[in-house]
């Protein structure tokens, strides 16, 4: 029994587009048919031409032989038809033969008096060859002209010889048939060879197919198959896809682990405080405990926010298309959001923006989250005043958060942002998570995260991104 999913898959399979082999075969067959028709047509033309040339010579020869036997005696034009002329015409074994000899005034001296004449008067030296219809059949005719110059007589005697075209068509058909047999045989051979060639050419596809099918579902490592150039793109795409999938799966797994670990400890602490609060009766202590609970809740909420933000940023890295973004706008939005979540007591970040837009290709949400996290870090761990600064440096755009503290310990700067450490003090966890978000965003935008001490004192964390060339 088929389950519904299988049935759908089968239905899809039956709707599949024609296979490459079929397409190739059709294309080859089409080209072949075209070439064969052209070959047959030209063979037929050639056959007709060859037959015409051969048999026209017979006609011409016969007409000249007859013309040669024209004489004048006692003022009368005499034609002594040579039998050799007719023996010559008999070489076209199955054709009917007609002839007509016309005197100088155009009168028929002998022969078939209604045999058609050519349109031209044939006064030229060469015999005129033409087609006509006579006795219910197509005939090929030749008219030869014999000038007569005798005493008192001057003019042309014309000899028309015609025969039916049966033998010509037979010869033409014979030639064309031979050509057709040849073309057919060649076509058959080409089809066979093409079939083998197509099979051979498509063999790598089969190899890829087999490799895909035989793959363990949990194995997301890149394929290492030998492929022709044309398939490299496909295999590369598959590999990119699996890499992305692998990254995504890993990210989700580590997010779940991180989130669980990060949230469990502070929530346990909150629960402990709440338990203490439940049995506490002194109002002073209660107030202190609830104050601690609130602090911790805020920290946990921020942590959760950051974790989700990190997950989102990681997700968007692979999926969101990049648009043109003005970093000044990012700075303003980040500042706004920081303000919304910051303690009222805290000093708000300052904005240091250039006059001109600083445009990069990127994901607005990710960039904003990165800057927001850096600003939060600065406000929480650094020393005010905190500023968000946007600038350009050659082909690079920078969006930096500056504070006047000492910054991150020098020995940790190298690994900053790559991953937050689980065994670190809870207070700095949020900071390293924020850096991780910023780092990830910087990398996914083709830039880097830069940490440096400022000459004038203070510490700067900056996203250094390539400027978009297309500033619109």
């Amino acid at each position: 029994m088929l389950d519904p999913g299988n049935a759908r898959a089968l239905a899809r399979a039956s709707r599949r587009r024609p296979s490459i082999a079929l397409r190739l075969t059709l294309a080859v067959a089409f080209i072949l048919a075209l070439a064969a028709s052209a070959a047959l047509w030209s063979a037929w033309r050639y056959g007709i031409q060859a037959a015409n040339e051969a048999y026209d010579r017979l006609l011409t020869g016969a007409s000249l032989q007859i013309a040669e036997r024209i004489s004048v005696a006692d003022g009368e034009v005499l034609v002594d038809l040579p039998s050799s002329a007719f023996e010559l015409l008999s070489l076209a074994r199955n054709d009917r033969v007609f002839y007509r000899v016309l005197g100088m005034a155009g009168e028929t001296l002998t022969g078939y008096p209604d045999l058609p004449l050519p349109d031209t008067d044939g006064s030229g030296a060469a015999p005129v060859v033409y087609d006509a219809v006579y006795s219910g059949e197509t005939v090929r005719a030749v008219m030869a002209t014999r000038p007569i110059a005798e005493r008192g007589m001057n003019g042309n005697v014309r000899v028309v010889v015609a025969h039916t075209v049966q033998e010509r068509i037979g010869l033409a058909r014979d030639i064309a048939t031979r050509a057709a047999i040849l073309v057919g045989a060649a076509g058959l051979a080409i089809v066979l060879i093409a079939w083998f060639a197509v099979r051979h050419a498509l063999a790598p596809l089969r190899r890829v197919e087999r490799a895909l099918l035989s793959r363990d579902p949990n194995d997301l490592s890149p394929f290492e198959i030998e492929t022709p150039r044309e398939l490299e793109a496909v295999v590369d795409a598959i590999n990119r896809f699996t890499r992305r999938l692998d990254r995504r799966v890993t990210a989700v797994q580590s997010f779940v682990a991180d989130a669980a670990h990060q949230l469990r400890t502070p929530i346990t602490a909150i629960r402990a405080q709440a338990q203490i609060a439940a049995s506490e009766e002194s109002p002073d202590r209660l107030r202190r405990i609830s104050r601690r609970i609130l602090d911790r809740s805020v920290a946990v909420s921020r942590l959760a926010d950051q974790l989700l933000s990190h997950a989102l940023v990681t997700h968007r890295t692979d999926s969101e298309p990049h648009a043109l973004v003005d970093l000044r706008r990012i700075a303003m939005e980040a500042e706004e959001e920081t303000r919304r979540f910051a303690d009222t007591a805290a000093e708000l970040p300052l904005l240091d923006l250039p006059e001109e837009p600083v445009t990069v290709a990127g994901d607005r949400f990710s960039l904003r989250e990165a800057v927001k996290n850096l600003a939060n870090n600065a406000m929480e761990h650094g020393r005010p005043p905190v500023a968000i600064r946007v600038s350009t440096e050659g082909a690079l755009a920078r969006i930096a958060v500056v504070d006047h503290g000492k910054g991150i310990a020098k020995e940790e700067r190298a690994s900053a942002g790559t991953r937050f450490r689980r065994n670190r003090a809870a207070s700095s966890r949020g900071a390293s998570l924020g850096l991780a978000i910023a780092h990830e965003v910087a990398i996914s935008h083709g830039g880097e995260l830069q940490l440096r001490d400022l000459d004038a004192g203070g510490f700067e964390v900056a996203l250094s991104l390539p400027l978009s060339e297309d500033r619109t």
Partner: protein, 355 residues
């Protein structure tokens, strides 16, 4: 020329009814079909073939119309042009006239396997078929010409004719103005041999006698009124020689023209199927046996062997047989102007005047 044509037509009209004779072979089974054969062949000679065919096809009534060659040609031409009823088979010894009718598109194509065995010279366009194999021979009277001086070739004949006075008025041949067959043989002799001119001059010196028909010559040679007959149709001569011991037949060894009676089925034929079957029958085993042994007309397929079997053994030497091929070359002789020129040449050579 017009006058000649008119006189020719008058001759045809006057002579045709006199010569024409219909012979009916009624069908012995029903339903009856009718096969009409227009022919120039003597009924006495062809009867065995017709009887044998009808035995195999009892439901076919046969009307055998015997006409002269010119009359048959005239009727077939009229039928071809739609002016007269057509025969189902037209069979004539005038190969040239038959070739002309086929050339003018009067015949249908016959595709019968039995006729495929015919040699090339006896077939044209799968429309015209030669059914017989009849040599042009020299006949002589055994009493007047000794066996050792028998004219075994044209040169021997020439030598004989040079003997002054011996053949004066005692040699006969066709009047080619009256006999289509004689004219055909004469034109072909002219085309194919170098002796023809000398031969007719020699005959002219000997005051050759001219006859319209083969039988006239054979009768006269057999009874001694003539010593020699030239270009006589071999089939008739052989049949006569069987009955008349004084009549000797010589087949010239330098070259021998062979005539084949040509038949076609006209386009307007009412009974084409039986007509084709009849043609095929004549070249089948039974038809050939009759042609070879009873009619002495022989068949183009095996006529050469059968002919020399019918002659005496001494003549069974190598021979240059020249069958007259069916084809468009035959119509040259029919050309009005050619005929006029040829007859003039013939008359001049024989030394006879315009009349």
């Amino acid at each position: 020329m017009i006058a000649r044509l008119v006189s020719f037509l008058v001759a045809v009209l006057v002579v045709a009814p006199a010569c024409a004779a219909d012979f009916d072979f009624p069908a012995s089974a029903t339903p009856a079909r009718t096969l009409v054969i227009g022919s120039t062949t003597d009924i006495g000679i062809i009867r065995p073939v017709i009887v044998a065919w009808q035995k195999a096809n009892p439901s076919v009534a046969i009307r055998y119309r015997e006409l002269t060659t010119n009359a048959l040609f005239g009727e077939a031409k009229a039928a071809c042009e739609g002016d007269a009823p057509a025969d189902d088979v037209v069979l004539s010894s005038a190969m040239d006239l038959q070739a002309k009718l086929v050339n003018d598109g009067c015949a249908v194509t016959v595709d019968r396997p039995g006729l495929n065995a015919l040699p090339d010279f006896a077939r044209w366009r799968s429309q015209l078929f030669g059914l017989t194999y009849e040599p042009a021979v020299i006949v002589y009277n055994r009493r007047a010409v000794a066996a050792h001086e028998a004219p075994t070739d044209h040169f021997a004949l020439l030598d004989l004719l040079r003997q002054p006075g011996r053949f004066e008025g005692r040699i006969g041949t066709y009047d080619i103005e009256a006999s289509g067959l004689g004219y055909l043989f004469a034109t072909l002799d002219d085309q194919r041999s170098s002796t023809w001119g000398r031969l007719i001059e020699a005959m002219g010196r000997n005051h050759v006698r001219l006859y319209c028909c083969t039988q006239d010559i054979l009768d006269r040679v057999a009874d001694g009124r003539l010593t020699l007959g030239y270009n006589v149709l071999g089939s008739y001569a052989l049949a006569e020689a069987r009955r008349k011991p004084d009549l000797a037949v010589a087949v010239p060894s330098d070259y021998t023209l062979v005539l084949t009676r040509a038949a076609f089925v006209p386009r307007q034929a009412a009974n084409r199927a039986d007509a084709e079957a009849f043609l095929e029958f004549t070249q089948g085993p039974e038809g050939r046996r009759i042609l070879n042994e009873e009619a002495l007309l022989f068949s183009p397929i095996d006529g050469e062997d059968q002919l020399f079997k019918a002659l005496d053994a001494r003549q069974q030497e190598k021979r240059a047989i020249r069958p007259i091929g069916l084809g468009p070359a035959l119509i040259v002789g029919l050309d009005q102007m050619k005929r006029r020129l040829f007859l003039k040449q013939w008359r001049d050579s024989l030394g006879i005047g315009e009349d």
